[in-house]
Symmetry: C2
Subunit: 465 residues, 2 copies
């Protein structure tokens, strides 16, 4: 057996233990957006540090202004000239599990569910991103177990705030520039084209998030005594939100489309040639009609068009039964997905101006002090690292990797470029039906297993140069 | 001292004990809309039965399809010809106390707060309706303590579902028609004109309540992966709710104004002459601009115009921080205040048709099985009971009672007429700033004290015939 075949055989032989290690990680409730889970995030970082140390990494939990970051160094010294030095990035934090009542089993009690399409790992974070980051760690473990070391210098960076704005990563990069700079960043937080076809993501949408609070009466009022007199903030908020899209589903905020250009005809032709089944994609979630601008393909809407989305709304009485109240306050959480050259700061500013214009003069509006976001990204298509990954993925999956866009946002890819001067290679094994951020999130066992094997091959191809 | 003066002196002497009895009632968490408090509602009914028995009433807790009803009989036998037989109605249930964090002390820990304007009783239900119903019971107690009996036949009916739709009262009336029918109903669940001026309410708005649930994707989705593809139910709901009013603040539901007539010019002139300070009324709750139809006076908007109001809305992620989700479901609770001859069933039907028309064909809408309501009411102005109450109130307060409308809804007044053939006399001592249904609900000690004395005088005037 060649060297690489021995490592792959080790991956196959060790799969049950790999799963046990993933389950241990999935049991930790590392929800980053809710301060109630701050200790779980620390425990999760400690767990990863211990695991990385066990396979020879120089690993440590690093303090930040928020949840800790895990940094680990392994393989040969970067200056020895062995292969490119890679920085692998993943995030150990997860989204809140609610609505809890929709989970068929506990979100932090991972289990294997057998389906006609194969085995699935079900738990919050199974796909986003604990399952994905463990594909790389398990690949590294296999190299260490077979050869005693990794063939190339590897730095691992695991963040704990990806699901809650990544506030700490900017300052952390500024303070640790030399330690973190490598030849290329590897990120495992994206998806495959389908369950049999690997993909490399070369376009990412940006993201702006904000929260708006509208106050009308100074206190909650009886809707009999005040109905017809006092303005209801839910009515004001509804008018604002209803006005965000026109009848063609275009976003109406003035200046919103500045920096959005029409898709290159060549790319459009490539995407049209992918055979993407729009009816099936929407049908899987019970829908038929795209929510984005009329006349555009679904892939274009998801990969190359911006959005304005309300992620949460609350106001008044929401318990059991009815309550005849005119509430004092109503609020909504929004995110905007950005493409091309849209400027996050301008999008935020234009949105807020749009809202302010629609607030009656005797009502009040406030915005989250956390509002902000990151620009969209397009990655180079001519790098040797991309070529290496394409060879590796074709060998593992027996099919060429598709170069895709992503509707999601991975702001750190922009930080790698701007702060550390590195391009990024985005390879991931998630699937559209993984239900990330939703109840019953899952990761296919096949994604996990072949994901580990894919990284073994990518590391090998990168080492060959 | 005349007989009536002795009873009034007894009220004054017994005020501290009256307050202690009210506090005991206010400590019981009889929230009717939330099934978690069902046992508290039973405890509250038992407490009232025991209290009424202690002053000679033949009182009992009566089983219903919902929370129990208290019925008590006192005074001479109705057939003896002493005065008119009155049925006094109040409700022992209260609204939920949330938002709890806005209360300055526990909602079920009543206390006296001293203010420059006098002493106030602060607790959930202090004004709506436990404080009010106790004004009548304490008046009855004073008669019994002084004279050993009431001068007229009195039936007391205390409901436990007024704040949650009064589902049991209809069947209960049907089953107990003979026992409950009297010459006139007395209801103490309305307000004064101001802290010094008594009022008798002769108009009440009707009420229709409904809840709407909009489902778009069949599960919660990631707003990156599906943003631009999957319709967001919050967006659909916002469009529906934003469309309920036009730019003149008129309700846009087709057929909504059927049965609403322009105000009689004489009544309009009366109301205009009341010296109602619109700016002060709105200013007290931090507002300036009426929310109802442009060009109408505030009293007309509250007493004689219908409304469409959203009492609660929820959808998506509403916890701390952000979550990039497109939710599967968004929902809203609504109430409509009715006037004139508006038909509750038609209003409900027209609203639901209005919503259905605005739901994209691949989304789904459902409504509460509890949706429904009651018609508006106007009471006769020429009855001897009204004349008796006006004499009594003028004597107690040194000012004539104002004949007012109410923006609120007391559906039972319609049931008294339709089921038992009785007119109702609506006399209450609440004030606009009592914050009923809101945090820090209060009842002025003066309302409580003079309220008791007012009922002593009203009973006396009714007995004189």
């Amino acid at each position: 057996m060649s060297d690489i075949e021995t490592v792959l055989a080790q991956v196959d032989a060790d799969l049950d233990s790999s799963l046990e290690r993933l389950f241990a990680l999935l049991r930790i409730k590392s929800v980053s957006t809710d301060p109630a889970f701050a200790d779980d995030c620390i425990a999760c970082a400690d767990h990863l540090v211990a695991d990385l140390k066990s396979i020879g990494f120089d690993a440590s939990r690093r303090k930040t202004i928020g949840h800790p970051i895990v940094v680990a160094h392994g393989g040969p010294e970067p200056e020895n000239g062995d292969g490119p030095h890679v920085l692998f990035y993943g995030h150990y934090d997860v989204q809140p599990p609610d609505p809890l009542e929709k989970w068929q089993s506990g979100p932090f009690e991972p289990r294997i569910v057998e389906t006609p399409q194969g085995k699935r790992i079900v738990a919050r974070g199974s796909s986003d991103d604990k399952g994905q980051l463990m594909t790389f760690i398990e690949a590294a473990r296999a190299y260490v177990n077979v050869n005693g070391r990794l063939p190339i210098p590897v730095t691992i960076l695991l963040e704990g705030e990806e699901e809650s704005g990544s506030k700490s990563i900017g300052p952390f990069f500024a303070e640790n520039k030399d330690e973190l700079t490598a030849d290329v960043a590897l990120v495992c937080d994206t998806g495959m084209w389908d369950a049999e076809t690997p993909a490399i993501t070369t376009r990412l949408r940006g993201l702006v998030h904000d929260e708006v609070f509208i106050t009308c009466p100074s206190r909650d009022l009886h809707s009999g005594m005040y109905g017809g007199a006092a303005m209801n903030p839910i009515r004001v908020l509804s008018k604002v939100l209803a006005g965000l899209h026109d009848t063609d589903n275009r976003v109406t905020i003035p200046g919103f489309y500045e920096g959005v250009s029409e898709l290159d005809p060549e790319i459009k032709a490539q995407w049209d040639g992918l055979g993407f089944d729009e009816a099936e994609f929407l049908g899987d979630v019970g829908l038929k009609i795209p929510s984005g601008e009329k006349g555009r393909s679904l892939l274009e809407l998801i990969w190359a068009q911006p959005t304005a989305e309300v992620n949460g709304i609350i106001g008044g009485y929401t318990g059991v039964g009815s309550k005849t109240v005119i509430p004092s306050v109503a609020s909504a959480k929004l995110t905007f997905r950005l493409v091309g050259e849209q400027d996050p700061a301008k999008v935020l500013e234009n949105f807020r101006a749009f809202v302010r214009e629609r607030i009656p003069e005797d009502c009040k509006v406030e915005f989250s002090p956390e509002g902000g976001g990151a620009q969209a990204l397009q990655l180079p298509l001519d790098s040797p690292h991309l070529a290496a990954a394409r060879r590796a993925l074709a060998a593992e999956w027996g099919k060429d990797a598709v170069l895709i866009g992503s509707g999601g946002s991975i702001p750190i890819v922009g930080d790698f470029k701007r702060s550390l001067g590195m391009d990024t290679l985005l390879v991931g094994f998630a699937l559209d039906d993984d239900a990330i951020h939703s109840p019953n999130e899952k990761y296919n066992l096949s994604s996990f297993h072949h994901g580990i094997r894919s990284w073994v091959r990518i590391i090998d191809e990168l080492a060959k140069g």
